[in-house]
Protein backbone atom coordinates (compact mmCIF):
# COMPACT_ATOMS: atom_id res chain seq x y z
CA UNK A 1 0.00 0.00 0.00
CA UNK A 2 1.49 3.37 -0.97
CA UNK A 3 1.17 6.68 0.85
CA UNK A 4 -1.93 7.93 -1.02
CA UNK A 5 -3.78 4.63 -0.63
CA UNK A 6 -2.91 4.48 3.06
CA UNK A 7 -4.02 8.05 3.72
CA UNK A 8 -7.28 7.52 1.80
CA UNK A 9 -8.11 4.37 3.75
CA UNK A 10 -7.22 6.00 7.06
CA UNK A 11 -9.31 9.05 6.18
CA UNK A 12 -12.30 6.79 5.43
CA UNK A 13 -11.87 4.93 8.72
CA UNK A 14 -11.66 8.19 10.69
CA UNK A 15 -14.86 9.41 9.04
CA UNK A 16 -16.91 9.94 12.21
CA UNK A 17 -14.28 11.92 14.12
CA UNK A 18 -14.37 15.75 14.29
CA UNK A 19 -12.91 17.41 11.20
CA UNK A 20 -10.15 19.21 13.19
CA UNK A 21 -8.95 15.95 14.75
CA UNK A 22 -8.93 14.14 11.40
CA UNK A 23 -6.93 16.99 9.88
CA UNK A 24 -4.33 16.83 12.69
CA UNK A 25 -4.06 13.05 12.41
CA UNK A 26 -3.67 13.13 8.64
CA UNK A 27 -0.98 15.80 8.99
CA UNK A 28 0.94 13.70 11.55
CA UNK A 29 0.78 10.65 9.28
CA UNK A 30 1.92 12.64 6.26
CA UNK A 31 4.86 14.00 8.28
CA UNK A 32 5.66 10.45 9.36
CA UNK A 33 5.70 9.36 5.71
CA UNK A 34 7.91 12.32 4.76
CA UNK A 35 10.36 11.54 7.57
CA UNK A 36 10.50 7.89 6.54
CA UNK A 37 11.04 8.79 2.89
CA UNK A 38 13.88 11.16 3.81
CA UNK A 39 15.48 8.26 5.71
CA UNK A 40 15.39 6.21 2.50
CA UNK A 41 12.48 3.90 3.34
CA UNK A 42 9.81 3.12 0.76
CA UNK A 43 6.17 4.20 1.10
CA UNK A 44 5.15 0.54 1.38
CA UNK A 45 7.58 -0.08 4.23
CA UNK A 46 6.36 2.97 6.15
CA UNK A 47 2.72 1.94 5.60
CA UNK A 48 3.50 -1.57 6.83
CA UNK A 49 5.18 -0.07 9.90
CA UNK A 50 2.02 1.90 10.68
CA UNK A 51 -0.10 -1.24 10.47
CA UNK A 52 -3.68 -1.68 9.33
CA UNK A 53 -5.36 1.72 8.75
CA UNK A 54 -8.54 0.47 10.43
CA UNK A 55 -6.64 -0.54 13.56
CA UNK A 56 -4.75 2.75 13.58
CA UNK A 57 -8.03 4.64 13.20
CA UNK A 58 -9.51 2.68 16.13
CA UNK A 59 -6.56 3.66 18.29
CA UNK A 60 -7.09 7.31 17.39
CA UNK A 61 -10.80 6.91 18.14
CA UNK A 62 -9.88 5.49 21.56
CA UNK A 63 -8.14 8.78 22.26
CA UNK A 64 -4.52 7.71 21.71
CA UNK A 65 -2.08 10.32 20.46
CA UNK A 66 0.15 9.75 17.44
CA UNK A 67 3.35 9.75 19.53
CA UNK A 68 1.94 7.10 21.88
CA UNK A 69 0.93 4.92 18.94
CA UNK A 70 4.34 5.24 17.33
CA UNK A 71 5.99 4.36 20.64
CA UNK A 72 3.96 1.17 20.72
CA UNK A 73 4.80 0.40 17.10
CA UNK A 74 8.51 0.81 17.83
CA UNK A 75 8.20 -1.47 20.82
CA UNK A 76 6.55 -4.08 18.64
CA UNK A 77 9.21 -3.71 15.95
CA UNK A 78 12.02 -3.87 18.49
CA UNK A 79 11.09 -7.16 20.01
CA UNK A 80 7.90 -9.16 19.94
CA UNK A 81 8.57 -12.05 22.31
CA UNK A 82 5.25 -13.81 21.76
CA UNK A 83 4.16 -13.89 25.42
CA UNK A 84 1.12 -11.79 24.56
CA UNK A 85 0.02 -14.32 21.97
CA UNK A 86 0.57 -17.25 24.33
CA UNK A 87 -1.41 -15.39 27.00
CA UNK A 88 -4.31 -14.72 24.59
CA UNK A 89 -4.49 -18.39 23.55
CA UNK A 90 -4.22 -19.82 27.09
CA UNK A 91 -6.53 -17.23 28.62
CA UNK A 92 -9.19 -17.87 25.98
CA UNK A 93 -8.97 -21.65 26.29
CA UNK A 94 -9.36 -21.66 30.09
CA UNK A 95 -11.30 -18.49 30.89
CA UNK A 96 -12.28 -16.19 28.03
CA UNK A 97 -14.38 -18.41 25.77
CA UNK A 98 -16.00 -20.22 28.72
CA UNK A 99 -16.91 -16.91 30.35
CA UNK A 100 -18.59 -15.55 27.22
CA UNK A 101 -20.39 -18.87 26.63
CA UNK A 102 -21.72 -18.89 30.22
CA UNK A 103 -22.99 -15.33 29.77
CA UNK A 104 -24.59 -16.31 26.45
CA UNK A 105 -26.21 -19.33 28.14
CA UNK A 106 -27.55 -17.03 30.87
CA UNK A 107 -29.12 -14.77 28.24
CA UNK A 108 -30.67 -17.74 26.44
CA UNK A 109 -31.94 -19.12 29.78
CA UNK A 110 -33.50 -15.75 30.63
CA UNK A 111 -35.15 -15.76 27.20
CA UNK A 112 -36.57 -19.25 27.81
CA UNK A 113 -37.79 -18.31 31.30
CA UNK A 114 -39.46 -15.24 29.80
CA UNK A 115 -41.19 -17.45 27.23
CA UNK A 116 -42.47 -19.83 29.93
CA UNK A 117 -43.54 -16.86 32.06
CA UNK A 118 -45.51 -15.32 29.20
CA UNK A 119 -47.03 -18.74 28.45
CA UNK A 120 -48.26 -19.13 32.04
CA UNK A 121 -49.64 -15.55 31.97
CA UNK A 122 -51.52 -16.43 28.77
CA UNK A 123 -52.96 -19.63 30.28
CA UNK A 124 -54.11 -17.83 33.47
CA UNK A 125 -55.68 -14.94 31.53
CA UNK A 126 -57.43 -17.37 29.17
CA UNK A 127 -58.68 -19.46 32.12
CA UNK A 128 -60.04 -16.39 33.90
CA UNK A 129 -61.76 -15.11 30.74
CA UNK A 130 -63.25 -18.53 29.99
CA UNK A 131 -64.46 -18.81 33.59
CA UNK A 132 -62.43 -21.90 34.44
CA UNK A 133 -61.05 -20.26 37.58
CA UNK A 134 -63.85 -19.22 39.93
CA UNK A 135 -63.01 -20.20 43.46
CA UNK A 136 -59.30 -19.24 43.47
CA UNK A 137 -59.67 -16.07 41.43
CA UNK A 138 -57.98 -13.74 43.98
CA UNK A 139 -54.80 -15.81 44.42
CA UNK A 140 -54.58 -16.28 40.65
CA UNK A 141 -54.89 -12.53 40.08
CA UNK A 142 -51.99 -12.01 42.51
CA UNK A 143 -50.06 -14.76 40.73
CA UNK A 144 -50.76 -13.01 37.43
CA UNK A 145 -49.46 -9.68 38.77
CA UNK A 146 -46.35 -11.43 40.12
CA UNK A 147 -45.69 -13.07 36.77
CA UNK A 148 -46.17 -9.73 34.96
CA UNK A 149 -43.56 -8.14 37.27
CA UNK A 150 -41.20 -11.08 36.63
CA UNK A 151 -41.74 -10.62 32.87
CA UNK A 152 -40.93 -6.89 33.10
CA UNK A 153 -37.79 -7.68 35.12
CA UNK A 154 -36.69 -10.30 32.59
CA UNK A 155 -37.30 -7.97 29.64
CA UNK A 156 -35.15 -5.29 31.32
CA UNK A 157 -32.43 -7.83 32.11
CA UNK A 158 -32.50 -9.11 28.52
CA UNK A 159 -32.37 -5.63 26.95
CA UNK A 160 -29.43 -4.58 29.14
CA UNK A 161 -27.82 -8.02 28.95
CA UNK A 162 -27.86 -8.23 25.16
CA UNK A 163 -26.70 -4.62 24.78
CA UNK A 164 -23.79 -4.93 27.19
CA UNK A 165 -22.94 -8.44 26.02
CA UNK A 166 -22.39 -7.03 22.54
CA UNK A 167 -20.42 -4.05 23.82
CA UNK A 168 -18.39 -6.17 26.20
CA UNK A 169 -17.60 -8.75 23.56
CA UNK A 170 -16.42 -6.03 21.17
CA UNK A 171 -14.19 -4.51 23.86
CA UNK A 172 -12.90 -7.98 24.80
CA UNK A 173 -12.01 -8.78 21.18
CA UNK A 174 -10.28 -5.41 20.86
CA UNK A 175 -8.33 -6.11 24.08
CA UNK A 176 -7.34 -9.55 22.76
CA UNK A 177 -6.09 -8.02 19.53
CA UNK A 178 -4.19 -5.41 21.52
CA UNK A 179 -2.49 -8.04 23.69
CA UNK A 180 -1.87 -10.20 20.61
CA UNK A 181 -0.17 -7.33 18.78
CA UNK A 182 1.57 -5.44 21.59
CA UNK A 183 1.89 -7.97 24.40
CA UNK A 184 1.17 -7.50 28.08
CA UNK A 185 2.34 -4.85 30.49
CA UNK A 186 2.08 -1.76 28.37
CA UNK A 187 -1.02 0.33 27.75
Amino acid sequence: MNKTEYLNRLSNELGHMPYGDVKDIMQSIEEHFDEGLSEGRSEEEIAAGLGDPKELANEFKDGAKFNQIMKKRKKVDNGRDGTGRIFVVVFNIFVGVAMWLVLLAAIIAALCILGVDLGIIGVIVASIIMGKITEFIVPFIFLLLTLICVAIFLVVILILGIKYYGKGLKAYIRWNRHVWNYGLGED
Partner: protein, 59 residues
Protein backbone atom coordinates in the same frame (compact mmCIF):
# COMPACT_ATOMS: atom_id res chain seq x y z
CA UNK B 1 -23.73 3.85 31.49
CA UNK B 2 -26.25 6.05 29.71
CA UNK B 3 -29.19 7.76 31.40
CA UNK B 4 -31.65 5.53 29.53
CA UNK B 5 -29.88 2.42 30.81
CA UNK B 6 -30.02 3.67 34.39
CA UNK B 7 -33.77 4.32 34.01
CA UNK B 8 -34.17 0.81 32.62
CA UNK B 9 -32.15 -0.61 35.50
CA UNK B 10 -34.33 1.23 38.04
CA UNK B 11 -37.46 -0.12 36.28
CA UNK B 12 -36.01 -3.64 36.51
CA UNK B 13 -35.18 -3.20 40.20
CA UNK B 14 -38.72 -1.95 40.94
CA UNK B 15 -40.18 -4.86 38.93
CA UNK B 16 -38.03 -7.35 40.87
CA UNK B 17 -39.07 -5.82 44.18
CA UNK B 18 -42.74 -5.89 43.16
CA UNK B 19 -42.37 -9.50 41.95
CA UNK B 20 -40.97 -10.55 45.35
CA UNK B 21 -43.58 -8.56 47.26
CA UNK B 22 -46.51 -9.84 45.16
CA UNK B 23 -45.05 -13.34 45.21
CA UNK B 24 -45.14 -13.40 49.01
CA UNK B 25 -48.71 -12.01 49.00
CA UNK B 26 -49.69 -14.65 46.42
CA UNK B 27 -48.30 -17.42 48.62
CA UNK B 28 -50.15 -16.03 51.66
CA UNK B 29 -53.43 -15.70 49.74
CA UNK B 30 -53.08 -19.21 48.35
CA UNK B 31 -52.27 -20.54 51.85
CA UNK B 32 -55.31 -18.78 53.33
CA UNK B 33 -57.59 -20.05 50.57
CA UNK B 34 -56.28 -23.61 50.77
CA UNK B 35 -56.41 -23.45 54.57
CA UNK B 36 -60.05 -22.42 54.39
CA UNK B 37 -60.73 -25.27 51.99
CA UNK B 38 -58.95 -27.70 54.29
CA UNK B 39 -61.03 -26.54 57.23
CA UNK B 40 -64.23 -27.04 55.24
CA UNK B 41 -63.17 -30.50 54.04
CA UNK B 42 -64.82 -33.49 55.66
CA UNK B 43 -61.67 -35.21 56.91
CA UNK B 44 -63.57 -37.47 59.35
CA UNK B 45 -65.89 -38.65 56.63
CA UNK B 46 -63.06 -39.26 54.21
CA UNK B 47 -60.84 -41.16 56.63
CA UNK B 48 -63.80 -42.73 58.44
CA UNK B 49 -64.96 -44.33 55.20
CA UNK B 50 -61.54 -45.61 54.29
CA UNK B 51 -61.02 -47.00 57.84
CA UNK B 52 -64.35 -48.78 57.80
CA UNK B 53 -63.58 -50.15 54.34
CA UNK B 54 -60.26 -51.50 55.60
CA UNK B 55 -61.96 -52.93 58.64
CA UNK B 56 -64.56 -54.69 56.51
CA UNK B 57 -61.82 -56.13 54.28
CA UNK B 58 -60.00 -57.47 57.36
CA UNK B 59 -63.25 -59.02 58.62
Amino acid sequence: MKKGDIKLLITGAIALFMACFLGIITLIVFAVKLGGKAMEYDWKGAFGNSCSTNASIED
